[in-house]
Symmetry: C2
Subunit: 177 residues, 2 copies
């Protein structure tokens, strides 16, 4: 990414101190979404992370991941798969539980969304502790998909989320903090 | 919309009986998302619902509305505003409670997302009872936005959701059941 693009993306992310709780600085992407030219840059750069590689399907993770994942899928002309919090998908699902800081979470995907051998790209806005992304990767593997990469708009490197995604997983992030 | 497009969109929606509970037939949009050419048609037709009208911003409603709203915003080159379930947006919000069949729900939007006079289009996948859409319309009005229209992929006409959105609201839907 050229320095000018990096600066434009960076400038469109807003720091919100003490959200969702004291001591956490939340990276707010909503200013970026309000600036169509910057939003377009983000989408272009997310697509660029897998430039030249064959992709069959894009996974977006509930809920902000839908924003970026759906646009990337539409731009690339490939199918979009929502991975959702448990109980939202109506057909047969593959589900997985994973640990959060406090308690557990569970996500799922339609079983017929991924066919064995499908080349899949995960797109999400944020890589933090990596729990949700790691669970999503497990779902892809269980259904026989081939994970090409996981691409994030933002990576909070100090949380080391990248480390739990697995050594065999290619991780891209546009902005690192 | 030409009959062929209508048929293609219709064919990409899957009926799931007894979801989320017995007696309800759920309209599953995930097959449409997996077919990029049909997804493109849906986006094109959603944009067509406001053809020729000036739009400043698109609102997408948490969570499936993000999929369609974000792509429509990106294609039209205008800002995207997520309306979210309570507690997810980090900055100052305007929020509203509304009744569901059982209990209440609350949604919110960032106050700085809409400026007085902004011409806003709401995009969502489904108009059912209309509760969430009606609440979203109230949020737009409170912030001084001008609602150009609310455009849905699917309308369940037998639930009469359109009636509670207000007589002054222009409602479009691509598929009616």
């Amino acid at each position: 990414m050229n320095p000018e693009t990096l600066e434009q993306l960076n400038a469109a992310i807003r720091d919100i101190p003490d959200f969702p709780k004291e001591g956490i600085v939340f990276k707010d992407i909503t200013p970026l979404l309000l600036q169509p030219e910057v939003f377009k840059l983000a989408i272009r750069e997310l697509i660029q992370t897998v430039d030249g590689q064959k992709i069959d399907k894009i996974i977006g993770i509930d809920a902000r991941g839908f924003i970026f994942g759906a646009v990337v899928a539409h731009e690339m002309g490939v199918g979009f798969i929502p991975v959702r919090k448990i109980g939202k998908l109506p057909h047969l699902t593959e589900s997985i539980s994973y640990s959060l800081e406090y308690g557990e979470a569970e996500i799922e995907v339609h079983r017929d969304a991924i066919s064995p051998g499908d080349r899949v790209l995960i797109v999400d806005d944020l890589l933090a502790t990596g729990g949700t992304a790691a669970a999503t990767i497990q779902l892809v593997k269980r259904l026989g998909g081939h994970l090409v990469a996981a691409s994030f708009l933002i990576e909070l490197t100090f949380l080391n989320g990248r480390d739990i995604l697995g050594e065999d997983v290619t991780v891209h992030s546009l902005l690192s903090y």
